[in-house]
């Protein structure tokens, strides 16, 4: 889901940076005014977790790979704005140092992976956990949130890739950037995430939330300042 350099034309990647800038601003303000800034170590753990979880490539045998992001798990612990900040940091380090995702595509990738995923997933989690408040229920709510959050991010990524041939096709019919149309990018990305990678993300998120609730580290799921260790 990390769009590399050369897949998006300048209008798309510039617009993505423009859309991301105010979101980063709001995320910084939210983290400042909520307890999240006092939980600096937790935000650090969230960014590091997101980085390392994306290294676990999950194969679709004989075809392709994908990976979990941990975006909804992070949103449950530090809130969706904290997740935007933490995952954006991981994506920027990946792009600059490891060439995972392009530098022109940092805005686009942050929009999809650090914004769409935690917000969609967290909204689903909040809504479902209103109905499912047991230990198992919360884990299931987080898992479904993770599944839909990752799939939503895959969809917006597919939209960005799929509009490239519409925006940039030379007179000889050749694409200038990402070559596949929406009719290919959307079904492929939606399906592989709904059926495989989203399920991995859901299992990971559900199991961790279930385990955390019964552990000494359960405080991490109750974001309130008084619970933060000194």
């Amino acid at each position: 889901m990390h769009i590399p350099d050369g897949y998006l034309g300048p209008p798309t990647y510039l617009a993505s940076f423009a859309a991301c800038a105010p979101l980063w601003g709001v995320a910084a303000r939210k983290v400042k005014t909520t307890s999240a800034a006092k939980r600096a170590p937790l935000l650090a753990i969230a960014a590091a977790f997101s980085f390392v979880v994306m290294m676990f490539n999950v194969p679709l045998p004989g075809a392709t790979t994908g990976h979990a992001v941990g975006g909804v798990l992070i949103a449950v612990a530090v809130g969706p704005w904290g997740a935007t900040l933490a995952i954006s940091i991981a994506l920027i380090v990946q792009a600059l140092l490891f060439g995972d995702g392009g530098i022109t595509a940092i805005g686009a990738n942050c929009l999809n992976i650090a914004f769409v995923m935690p917000f969609v997933g967290y909204a689903v989690y909040r809504w479902l956990s209103g109905h499912l408040s047991s230990r198992k229920g919360r884990a299931v709510a987080a898992a479904i949130g993770a599944w839909l959050g990752l799939t939503a991010a895959a969809l917006t990524t597919a939209l960005m890739l799929g509009i490239q041939p519409l925006l940039h096709t030379a007179s000889d019919g050749r694409a200038l950037y990402a070559p596949y149309p929406l009719s290919i990018t959307v079904p492929v990305m939606a399906l592989e995430h709904l059926v495989v990678f989203g399920v991995v993300e859901a299992l990971l998120t559900g199991l961790v939330v279930y385990h955390l609730q019964g552990s000494r580290s359960a405080w991490v799921l109750q974001p309130s300042l008084s619970e933060v260790p000194r």
Binding site: D5, G6, L42, A44, I45, P59, G66, L96
Partner: protein, 111 residues
């Protein structure tokens, strides 16, 4: 006792087993992630190199491309695993450090 320690330990364990993310796709012959192909792969798939893509693809030379330390890109899998673990540790340190500093700076401006 509330502590951050279990989380850092979990991250360390994840870094140590991260080569799974390298080996498993290799064994099952899974290729690149969809939409993250190299220019050569795109050329093979659609029959030409999109000109804009060709222009932008090598805009940035990452110092540790694909989590392989310099000179290790084509190394055998066992050797690449070591690179992968070191990359994971480096990434944890950098992401964690950056997020910590950002969060602390934001907190200070509030106080």
């Amino acid at each position: 006792m509330k502590s951050y320690r279990p989380f850092w330990i979990a991250l360390l364990v994840m870094a140590l087993v991260s080569p799974l993310g390298l080996y498993v796709p290799e064994w099952l012959e899974a290729g690149a992630a969809w939409g993250e192909w190299s220019l050569e792969e795109v050329k093979r798939m659609v029959g030409y190199a999109p000109s804009g893509m060709e222009r932008l693809a090598d805009l940035w030379r990452a110092p540790i491309p694909d989590y392989a330390l310099p000179g290790q890109e084509e190394a055998p899998l066992a050797q690449r695993s070591l690179s992968y673990i070191l990359s994971a540790l480096l990434g944890i340190g950098l992401c964690g450090g950056t997020a910590f500093v950002v969060a602390r700076c934001l907190a200070r401006r509030e106080a």
